[in-house]
């Protein structure tokens, strides 16, 4: 007997036509989804290996293969590593505070009985309904007034403000966190902040990983705000790749090199995603379920 009380034979269902058809349909849908997600990436890899003067509509399979496009993308036209460093720095100074403050806010909304708590939470959620194009110009004006344009301070300040989506994610997770652990820590002598730092945070691995990856990926790939607020040496790879791979006069865009640069730009987050995939899935799946 298995642990489920059925024998292996009982569990091995016969391959009926209905079962084969259902399984076939499932695989067909999965294959279509994989193609939809992988095709642009595959096209990008192939397009990045074409001759540098070929445009977007070059041959599907490059011949000969121009591996040196990657060398060019890295150091031939602008110092890729310098802007990569900027991008990493910007992503980290945004991601670390945004995850921590969102977790803290989520903890507050989940665990602290206060008048108006739910109204305030609804207000926080409602801010996600405001399209960013509406706040985009006012934010630029404010940062310009306080002389924070062309600095990384805006990202740190945004980070310290938290993000409604993450606050919601953490709030759901902490609302289902065993309340006895909170009580035990309170009896052990902890105040609310210490309970959060010593008990909640160390037990939030999955949701922390999920939140971190989502935020890191978002800020890593952002074009608009770096393009608006950062110039020259301060900017990040997003705007740089989009505008930087041209002939010295700026009249010819080297599309394959631009795509090679985009591939290099994508690689770190892709590796980060694969490295933390399991934790990420667990973080999202267990949100709201952990009891």
């Amino acid at each position: 007997m298995t642990s489920f009380g059925r024998t292996a034979d009982q569990r091995r269902k016969p391959w009926t036509f209905r079962r084969i058809a259902r399984r076939g349909l499932l695989y067909a849908v999965l294959i279509i989804l994989v193609v939809i997600f992988v095709l642009p990436l595959g096209w990008g890899v192939l397009a990045s290996l074409r001759e540098k003067n070929q445009g977007v509509l070059g041959p599907a399979i490059p011949h000969p293969i121009h591996w040196d496009n990657y060398r060019f993308a890295w150091s031939g036209i602008f110092p890729f590593a310098h802007y990569l460093k900027n991008t990493v720095f910007l992503s980290v100074i945004y991601t670390v505070p945004v995850v921590l403050t969102s977790a803290l806010a989520g903890y507050g909304f989940a665990r602290h009985r206060a008048k108006g708590r739910n109204v305030l939470f609804m207000f926080v959620l409602a801010t996600t309904l405001v399209p960013f194009v509406i706040t985009f110009i006012p934010q630029f004006v404010i940062f310009a007034h306080v002389h924070l344009v062309n600095t990384y301070w805006p990202w740190l300040l945004w980070g310290l403000g938290g993000v409604p989506f993450l606050i919601f994610l953490f709030r759901q997770f902490y609302a289902n966190f065993p309340s006895e652990l909170h009580d035990a820590a309170a009896m052990d002598g902890c105040g609310n902040l210490r309970i959060f730092l010593s008990i909640y945070l160390p037990n939030s691995g999955g949701v922390l990983a999920a939140g971190s990856i989502i935020m890191f990926t978002w800020v890593w790939g952002d074009y608009i705000f770096p393009a608006l607020l950062l110039y020259d040496q301060q900017t990040t790879l997003g705007p740089k790749i989009a505008s930087g791979y041209t002939s010295p006069t700026g009249t010819i865009a080297f599309v394959p090199i631009t795509i090679a640069g985009a591939m290099l730009f994508t690689l770190p987050v892709l590796l980060l995603f694969f490295a933390m995939q399991k934790k990420l899935a667990r973080g999202i799946v267990t949100t709201g379920l952990k009891g």
Binding site: R113, P178, E180, L181, D183, A184, A185, A186, M187, D188, G189, C190, G191, R194, S198, I199, P202, N203
Partner: protein, 392 residues
């Protein structure tokens, strides 16, 4: 000095439920008291009010000579053992025990000494580097105890700490707990719905129902002189037998039987015209041919359960069952509660296993008037016939 004083403590939740309803209690320094009652009676809420985990709506909580009503849990110097142990999952046993000490700034050498002492006391030396996930239920329970002990607080609060253990382990840990309290002598408030724990662990026990203390006394007093019907029905297993009776012509009439009041002496005058009679199953004796008893009743046996060491014999009396919401609550968890579904009063007799006869037989039992209890059928309060004659 670490006694506890509760003065008119009220706890009303935002949804309007009044979980604790005007509790007054004085717990002496070093005393082990048990809060016992059916599920939802407010005992855990009262414990949490003492610990500061719930804000009291009204009244005061005093620990030692300090009013701690508005003091945060962390500043009350109390340790609590939770029903599900609440061990920190990301810390090993050593760190779990050390956590409270570390938070309070205890010097490192002192922390190590206390961990060693608590681990020795509870036999955890081999488990110090394990995480809670790698421990059995009994081991987790011991870690939770060790965590509380290492703190050396002025009060221990325990919220049904044995309820997740299997029956055998529960008996052992119960004995360990009693021994630990004898060694440490720290004021302890222990919550349980298990009357065996209440009877065996508590120096005094408070029986609670609907947020109120029904009786706060020694376990023996709860058993021998219950203050009201609820306590009478809740304490003792199987429950006390109850039947409605009327007093007339110098006798108590119950289920068609006439029990002469002369047996109760002059104080029988205190009985009102209608009365609820109570007698514990273990205080009924079977009468055989020729046996005489001042008070005797006879009935058909409906069920007989042979438990090996004793026999439980169930039989109905031709009188309506004494029923109220309180009694249903008092009987919750009682194995034989289903028998209450009968509209007649079902009596249980706990008899020696040597009894030979089986079900469907007639049974004649004798009631010792001195061991009978009387209650006012309207208020449920006990009517004291003779003070000080009973006692374990």
């Amino acid at each position: 000095m670490s006694g506890i004083g509760l003065q008119n403590v009220v706890k009303t939740f935002p949804n309007g439920v009044r979980a604790v309803d005007g509790v007054d209690m004085t717990i002496d320094d070093g005393e082990f008291i048990v809060l016992v009652g059916p599920s939802g009676c407010g005992k855990t809420t009262l414990l949490r009010c003492i610990g500061g985990l719930e804000e009291v709506t009204n009244g005061s909580v005093i620990i030692g000579d300090k009013d701690v009503t508005d003091v945060a849990p962390k500043d009350r110097d109390i340790a609590m053992v939770f029903q599900n142990y609440a061990l920190y999952p990301h810390m090993n046993v050593r760190k779990n025990i050390a956590f409270g000490l570390k938070v309070r700034g205890t010097p490192r050498a002192e922390i190590i000494a206390r961990i060693t002492e608590a681990a020795r006391l509870l036999g955890l030396e081999e488990l110090l580097d394990r995480r809670p996930l790698a421990l059995s239920g009994g081991q987790r329970q011991r870690v939770a105890m060790a965590r509380a002990i290492a703190r050396r607080p002025i009060v221990y609060l325990m919220d049904e700490p044995l309820s997740n253990l299997d029956a055998k382990l529960r008996v052992r840990v119960r004995a360990d707990l009693a021994q630990l309290h004898a060694q440490l002598g720290v004021t302890t408030v222990y919550v349980t719905h298990d009357q065996v724990e209440a009877m065996t662990l508590g120096q005094r026990a408070a029986v609670m129902n609907k947020g109120k203390i029904q009786q706060f006394d020694t376990p023996q007093a709860l058993y021998w002189t219950p203050a009201n019907l609820f306590v009478a029905a809740f304490i003792g297993s199987p429950s006390m037998n109850l039947a409605q009776g009327t007093v007339s012509n110098g006798a108590l009439h119950v289920g068609g039987f006439e029990l002469p009041l002369s047996e109760l002496g002059a104080d029988a005058r205190r009985l009102p015209s209608t009365v609820t009679l109570g007698i514990r199953p273990e205080h009924l004796t079977e009468l055989h041919n020729g046996d005489a008893s001042a008070w005797a009743i006879e009935a058909d046996v409906t069920v007989e359960e042979n438990l090996g060491a004793e026999v439980l014999v169930f039989f109905p009396l031709e009188t309506p069952a004494v029923a109220s919401d309180d009694l249903v609550r008092a009987h919750s968890g009682e194995e034989h509660a289903a028998l209450l579904a009968d509209e007649r009063a079902i009596f249980t007799a706990r008899l020696p296993a040597t009894r030979r006869a089986g079900a469907r037989d007639k049974i004649r039992v004798g009631l010792d008037p001195k061991l009978c209890h009387f209650f006012d059928p309207d208020t449920g309060d006990a009517i004291v016939i003779r003070d000080g004659e009973r006692g374990g």
